[in-house]
């Protein structure tokens, strides 16, 4: 799995961090998403897929390997 984020779309909701805190965080200064792990381990995949789906700005793209 490969994860990418579109900072320009991100609205700083932080929903992704609530769902998958090991993969996403937010910058302190403006709340924009920070990708902690662009190739997360298998045990994170369900959480990452959910984060991509619930992101209210459609800013997370998941490419399944």
């Amino acid at each position: 799995m490969k994860v990418t984020v579109d900072e320009d779309k991100c609205c700083g909701a932080g929903t992704c961090v609530l769902v998958a805190p090991d993969v996403f965080d937010q910058r302190d200064e403006d709340g924009i998403v920070m990708l902690l792990d662009e190739a997360p381990a298998a045990d994170q995949h369900d959480a990452v897929r959910e984060a991509a789906s619930v992101c209210p700005a459609a800013a997370i793209l998941v490419a399944e390997a």
């Binding site: 609205c11 959910e50 789906s53 619930v54």
Partner: protein, 393 residues
């Protein structure tokens, strides 16, 4: 109830798409059909009053998912053919073109349509902003206009005013509240927002309703306030809220009162569910019926309904959340700001317009509002969540 073999989702936008994605993620391999009234593939609405209206984004950037991602869902999209009727007992939807679509489970995700002023439909130069086509049409007209009057002091009106100023228009914002977004932000933060707009040069005509539109030979020329004053305009945006899109459910037997009325599982009837702006369900934490018009709710409710379709039988009791972008400010609320709540600044500094405020009613934290501090705001969300999401099932 046995698990359904087929699901029909009516409304192909944020809520409908989220339901579909969640069904697939959870392993549902039956037939899924998404019926959409618009001809577009699912797109996102928040950018319509912001990046799309300002021209920072081309309209197709608002599309919710790239086409390969939609294809991988293995769902059938039937677009440009609105649902015209529902037979709840047989779970059959009839479309405007006469199609009959039947499924074991039906998800209603038709959102809201923009409320309009009397006579608006016959006049050129008056716009609402609900669809991508609306935003593109308004963008073209703003480019050729000088004076914009926005009718409506809620979130959409405030955003359109900000975007209009960004485009260099002369903007007036009119509405009945004493400060913009008072019902969502409360009087204190709404007051800060009003000052912010005034500093950016928006003329605020608040605290008085709008009595009607003024026209000259078929085109709007201004807005008349209840005080009798007239605000001249080249273009008018009407942002006075939404009406749940339930007309097509007349005669279906479902209860529609300010939305599709649902139980705490978001179920409207056996095998029929509602999601997003159109759904009015019973929120356990608030112990009251609730209908939310915000983006996060549409996706989260879609996820909850997908789980319940697959047998989870769990109540949906989210912490409401929305954000708005105006000028360089990103303001967000987790929970609610009840009337009369007391505000305490818990982080940052109001004067520098970077702060987090906690709102309490009778000593209980009910909402957290952040101004340009998204991460810190989220960190305070828990205080609100503990109250709103009791561990009841």
């Amino acid at each position: 109830m046995s698990l359904p073999a087929s699901v029909l989702v009516v409304g192909a936008s944020a809520g409908g798409l989220s339901t579909t994605e969640a069904l697939r993620r959870k392993g549902f391999d039956g037939r899924i059909t998404l019926l959409g009234g618009e001809r577009h593939l699912p797109y996102d609405r928040p950018p319509l009053s912001k990046q799309v209206l300002s021209g920072a984004w081309e309209p197709d950037r608002a599309q919710l998912r790239p086409e390969p991602v939609l294809q991988a869902l293995d769902a059938e999209f039937v677009l440009g053919d609105p649902a015209a009727g529902l037979d709840a007992a047989s779970r059959t939807v009839r479309t405007a073109s006469g199609r009959l679509l039947e499924a074991d489970a039906i998800v209603i995700a038709t959102g809201v349509r923009a409320r309009t002023l009397p006579g608006q439909g016959e006049l050129a130069g008056v716009h609402t902003v609900r669809t991508l086509d609306d935003a593109v049409a308004l963008r073209a007209e703003l480019a050729a206009s000088r004076r914009l009057v926005v009718v409506g002091d809620g979130v959409l009106g405030a955003e359109v005013a900000a975007t209009g100023r960004g485009l260099g228009l002369d903007v007036t914002l009119a509405g009945p509240q004493s400060v913009p977004m008072e019902s969502q932000f409360g009087p204190w933060a709404g007051g800060l927002l009003g000052e912010f707009h005034a500093e950016h040069g928006v003329g605020l005509r608040l605290g008085t309703g709008v009595s009607g539109l003024v026209a000259e030979s078929g085109r709007v020329s201004g807005v008349r306030l209840e005080t009798g004053q007239e605000l001249p305009a080249d273009v008018v945006v009407v942002a006075i809220g939404g009406v749940p899109a339930t007309d097509w459910l007349a005669g279906s037997g479902l209860t529609c009162e300010n939305g599709v009325v649902c139980d705490d599982r978001c179920r409207a009837a056996d095998g029929i569910w509602a999601v997003g702006d159109v759904a009015r369900w019973h929120h356990r934490g608030l112990d009251a019926p609730l209908r939310l018009e915000n983006r996060t709710n549409a996706t989260q409710q879609g996820l909850a309904v997908a789980s319940n379709i697959l047998g989870a039988d769990a109540p949906y009791s989210p912490v409401p959340y929305f954000w708005t972008d105006q000028y360089d400010a990103k303001v967000m609320v987790h929970g609610v700001v009840p009337a009369g709540a007391e505000a305490e600044v818990v982080d940052g500094d109001v004067a520098s317009r970077r702060f987090v405020a906690l709102f309490r009613s009778h000593g209980v934290a009910r909402g957290v509002l952040g101004w340009n501090m998204p991460k810190q705001t989220r960190l305070h969300r828990r205080e609100v969540a503990d109250v709103l999401t009791p561990a009841t099932v």
